[in-house]
């Protein structure tokens, strides 16, 4: 018996090893075998190519004909699984990102390299570089010079540089990443858990917030994502929980007030001021701040109609008292530093403190009474674990399942998604314990996702317009920040949205006259290679074939830029203009212009060779002038495509 069992277990073990080896080596095959769902696009009357284009319009920052080919070749379902896994090599992207040196800094490192101006000033004072009180103009001049020298000596860099790099990286990732769905979901969750560069105190922590908190959890479990955001310095600072503490002990407060009363009778101003200041300080350090507790329910989990009361908010805030930032050297958290410096890590632990990376649970600030939230009792004195239990409860609440599902559906299906769809997704959310990837699979497997009414129904945000443009044009983005400026002009200053709601995900919000005009201007500028640091080559894009006419260009580039889209209406509408001399520069004028270029003194050897080559290429009767006209014509046609109503939609 025993040898038989041994043999059997050996066999099992060997089989397991074999299977896992097989799975390891033949990874794609494993994915194929794991696919238990089928996208019902045929039922909706879509061809495979149309469906692929739709999928790309939803889960990438813009389709290209090559990508449609690729998705069809891979198989839609399999492509989706690969994207959910997000492990496709990204060398080209990494190469572009390697030009930026601040992308991988921890918060501590960023804080050292890019200190806040206020901290620089304080350090300079502490180091005796500038006088403590520098009030007169003379002293001020001195202090400016000294300060500059100090900054240089310490190698401090300006914070805006950190943010520029961060913004550039986002644009590059969205443009070039092969793992598009990961970028789309990162964008979605960042906006859901919005923090803003406009709030200076939290700005420094935002790059790490996206990199370490949002991106790794973008297709994971909602609960983990929620807890990670709750503990991140960016969120703790942005919604003020970092200094939320148990309300001042009433009796103590009363005692101070009585002393103040006495003092005010005595007319001793300095003593009064001192007492007032102490009272103020106490209140500052010992006050409940409900901001985070409210928003975590209203915006992050339950939704505004999620069924919570003001008392739930207050109690949740009490539970989260003491959730703060571990102090940074020479920066935030000076108050708490005095407390924790008196203890080593073991003592901290024994006293109920929790130190995890940048997060600190400060037991001394925690409200130790019993609390009740949404009918659930939180037993007194459980410290940090109360907060974890609260966040878990919120993450798995039925209102959260509905709220998150609806928001996902609004992003990926239509602004007002069908209730039937949201319910299906919420059911998965609940059954799979907030597994985001499963919720997405349910969504894409639903008939609502593929319904004709959902096709091209989403209006691109400015970010989506810009990125889908550079992707469609296969542009070489050397200076991503220039694109950020265009997005700002169109109404989306990414990372600077001030309110914790994040940018609204509705067409109505994005489309207004000023914004629309800038969308058209953006199209015209980028197609004509007039966005600095972004190079496009329209001839390359069409395999070096020059379109025969404006009409031809419209059809050709329309297909390249909006694969599988029905453009009959657009083309029909424009065709009268395309055959008229409207899209051609006035012949007389153009001739004059070209003529001036031909002046001998302006011709260098290089351009002579170029001219010769062009003339050699020029079949039919085309001359240089024709070539220049064509370039202009193509740029104009492509500019119009980008600014067209059709291209604003996805």
């Amino acid at each position: 018996m025993i040898p038989a069992m041994l043999r059997f277990s050996k066999f099992v073990a060997a089989t397991i090893i074999f299977i896992s080896l097989f799975a390891f080596v033949k990874d794609p095959a494993r994915i194929q075998n794991d696919i238990t769902f089928k996208f019902p696009y045929k039922e909706a009357g879509l061809t495979e190519r149309q469906a692929a284009a739709h999928l790309l319009n939803r889960f990438s920052f813009g389709p290209t004909p090559q990508l449609v080919d690729e998705v069809v070749k891979t198989g839609l379902e399999k492509w989706f699984m690969q994207q959910l896994d997000g492990k496709i090599p990204d060398e080209a992207l990494q190469k572009r990102l390697s030009a930026y040196d601040a992308l991988n800094l921890s918060n501590t490192e960023a804080n050292k390299l890019f200190p806040r101006p206020i901290d620089v000033l304080r350090m300079a004072r502490e180091d005796g570089v500038i006088p403590k009180d520098s009030a007169t103009d003379e002293e001020r001049k001195l202090y400016k010079k000294e300060l500059a020298a100090y900054v240089k000596e310490k190698n401090f860099r300006r914070q805006p540089e950190l943010y520029r790099q961060f913004i550039a990286a986002k644009i590059l990732r969205a443009t070039y990443s092969n793992n598009q769905l990961q970028e789309v979901m990162t964008d979605f969750w960042f906006n859901h858990f919005n923090v803003s560069l406009t709030k200076r105190d939290c700005a420094m922590f935002i790059p790490a917030f996206e990199r370490d908190v949002i991106r790794p959890n973008a297709t994971g479990k909602f609960e983990e994502l929620l807890i990670a955001t709750a503990k991140s310095p960016a969120m703790l600072m942005y919604l003020d929980n970092f200094n939320s503490a148990a309300t001042a002990d009433e009796t103590n407060d009363e005692r101070m007030k009585r002393r103040l009363q006495k003092l005010s009778e005595s007319m001793d101003d300095s003593a009064k001021a001192q007492m007032m200041q102490r009272l103020q300080q106490r209140r500052k350090n010992q006050g409940l701040n409900e901001n985070y507790a409210r928003e975590v329910m209203e915006l992050h989990t339950l939704g505004v109609d999620g069924g919570y009361s003001q008392s739930d908010v207050t109690n949740a805030a009490k539970i989260l008292t003491g959730w703060t930032i571990y102090p940074f050297e020479n920066s935030v958290g000076k108050g708490i530093r005095n407390v924790i410096e008196k203890m080593d890590e073991t003592q901290l632990k024994n006293n109920g403190f929790i130190h995890e990376g940048d997060f600190l649970f400060a037991m001394n600030r925690h409200d130790k009474a019993e609390k009740t939230v949404l009918g659930k009792k939180f037993v007194a004195g459980a410290g940090y674990e109360e907060g974890i239990a609260l966040l878990k409860m919120l993450a798995h609440h039925p209102s959260t399942a509905m709220f998150i599902s609806k928001k996902l559906a609004a992003r990926f299906v239509t602004d007002e998604p069908p209730v039937t769809l949201v319910q299906k997704m919420a059911k998965t959310f609940t059954e799979k314990e907030g597994d985001i990837r499963q919720v997405l699979i349910t969504m894409v497997s639903s008939k609502e996702f593929w319904d004709k009414s959902a096709m091209r129904e989403k209006t691109k945000s400015p970010f989506e317009l810009v990125i889908s443009t550079v992707r469609a044009l296969n542009a070489d983005v050397q200076q991503p920040y220039q694109l950020f400026n265009w997005m700002d002009k169109m109404g989306q200053k990414i990372y600077y949205f001030q309110a914790p709601t994040g940018f609204p995900d509705r067409a109505q919000y994005w489309i207004n006259t000023g914004a629309l005009l800038n969308r058209m201007n953006f199209g015209l500028a980028i197609a004509a290679n007039q966005v600095r640091g972004v190079k496009t080559n329209l001839l390359d894009l069409n395999n070096h074939h020059e379109p025969e006419s404006a009409g031809d260009a419209l059809v050709t580039y329309g297909k390249i830029m909006m694969p599988e889209r029905d453009l009959t209406a657009t083309i029909k509408r424009l065709s009268p203009m395309l055959t008229q001399p409207l899209l051609k520069p006035d012949v007389g004028n153009a001739a004059g212009k070209t003529g001036s270029i031909k002046e001998p003194k302006q011709i260098s050897d290089e351009s002579l060779v170029e001219d010769a080559m062009k003339e050699n290429e020029g079949n039919n009767n085309e001359n240089m002038q024709g070539g220049a006209d064509k370039t202009n014509m193509m740029a104009q046609v492509v500019g119009i495509i980008i600014g067209s109503p059709e291209f604003q939609r996805r």
């Binding site: 406009t198 505004v304 629309l516």
Partner: protein, 420 residues
């Protein structure tokens, strides 16, 4: 009421020419002479200036006889006495004064067009610029999640879905006050409101026509409608020459961001193209260091501020009846000066309201004599007037919108009487 759409239907826009971007000069001139008026119903206009950084209300409008203030600000206190080194504070009413660099606004105070509210601020005592501005601009001082700005909601309450220029912010980015679903424009230079065809100016007309036709047939109602409004708007501004604009009545705007912004707002008002809410910003008020007196940081800033507003008002001339200008700042500054010749974040500040229906010539609000027990937290000028009370009254009396439930949800309070 003649809505713009009705007007377009009646063919009025033909004035702007058939072509796009190519309005013949004589047409433009004719239009200018007729002031292009009656495109819209004549609206009331509210112009707001946000002073970012927290203006020291006690330096702009000081209690110039207050012994406490004098002792608390040894190097910042300014007296009304004529024999001091610096220019004397302008005595407004025996208690309050105006910073000497605000003298261009003095006549407006005397003529009762300018009102001041002192001790104005937020009921939320945050001293963070970010939070305080956020609360003031959203109009909900205890709610972070309000995703719209109060001026955007005001625009919605006005309910005129006519002009694309009904709410314009002369800033690069959309200010928090303008966040929302009612159409608004943020643009720092009106001249940029055009199709830009630097690469191929010859093709500008054709390109514009292409866009116009495409949007005209757009299947999305939103894109179609907005497209139409966009092209109308471009045509409206087509003959606006911001570079060679000559302000009326000899008005001289400072060559500063605020001066430029107000100058362009005046141009929009004169064009009569439906502006209802204008917005501009003024920065540099966070005077922690070397605040100075007459010629310091604050002094230079308040000079630019006052002269910009005065020029704007002069430029408006007979249009003043339609316009009310209101200033705001997130909070005030400490009564006591700090160790580096400046002031730190405080609570109450003051606001200025200018207009012909303003209860002017008065310093409104409650300011108790400065003494430690009267100060908020023992250090700051107390907030005795909720900013919403002022904003709400101005919106109510000037723009005729009095729906506080929408404008300032959760607020119910008394209006301070700054409007007549």
């Amino acid at each position: 009421m003649t809505s713009r759409r009705a007007f377009i239907k009646s063919g009025g826009l033909a004035l702007f020419g058939i072509g796009f971007g190519g309005v013949p000069a004589f047409v433009a001139k004719a239009a200018a002479v007729k002031k292009m008026s009656r495109l819209y119903k004549k609206n009331k206009i509210l112009v707001c200036i946000f002073q970012r950084g927290a203006m020291d209300g006690l330096m702009a409008v000081p209690l110039f006889n207050d012994a406490y203030l004098k002792s608390a600000r040894p190097s910042l206190f300014m007296s009304a006495a004529k024999d001091t080194k610096t220019a004397p504070v302008i005595d407004l009413d025996g208690t309050f004064g105006l910073h000497p660099n605000m003298k261009s606004l003095e006549p407006l105070f005397r003529s009762k067009q300018l009102a001041i509210v002192h001790g104005v601020g937020s009921p939320n005592n945050t001293r963070s610029h970010f939070d305080a501005q956020d609360y003031m601009e959203s109009g909900t001082p205890f709610t972070k999640s309000t995703d719209t700005g109060w001026l955007n909601r005001a625009s919605g309450l006005l309910g005129h879905d006519g002009s694309p220029f009904r709410a314009v912010s002369l800033t690069n980015s959309m200010p928090r006050s303008f966040y929302g679903y009612n159409p608004s424009i943020a643009i720092s230079n009106l001249q940029d409101f055009a199709l830009q065809m630097k690469s191929n100016p010859l093709a500008a007309n054709a390109t514009a026509k292409s866009f116009e036709d495409l949007y005209d047939q757009a299947s999305s109602g939103l894109l179609k409608q907005t497209g139409k409004e966009t092209f109308d708007a471009v045509k409206m501004l087509d003959n606006l020459d911001t570079k060679n604009y000559t302000p009326a009545n000899g008005a001289e705007y400072p060559a500063s961001p605020l001066g430029n912004a107000l100058k362009q707002i005046a141009q929009l008002i004169k064009l009569d193209i439906g502006l209802e809410i204008g917005f501009a910003e003024s920065g540099g008020w966070d005077t922690h260091y070397n605040q100075g007196t007459e010629n310091g940081t604050f002094g230079r800033n308040i000079l630019d501020f006052s002269n910009s507003i005065a020029a704007f008002w002069t430029d408006l001339g007979s249009l003043q009846d339609d316009v009310t200008l209101m200033t705001m700042t997130e909070f005030g500054r400490t009564v006591k000066q700090n160790g580096s010749g400046g002031t730190d974040h405080g609570r109450g500040s003051c606001g200025f309201i200018l207009g012909n229906d303003v209860s002017g010539g008065k310093v409104h609000g409650i300011v108790h004599p400065l003494a430690i027990e009267n100060l908020e937290d023992g250090r700051d000028l107390a907030v005795t007037t909720d900013f919403r009370a002022v904003f709400s009254e101005v919106a109510d009396r000037h723009l005729n919108i009095n729906n506080d439930a929408v404008l300032f949800p959760g607020w119910e309070g008394k209006k301070p009487g700054v409007m007549r």
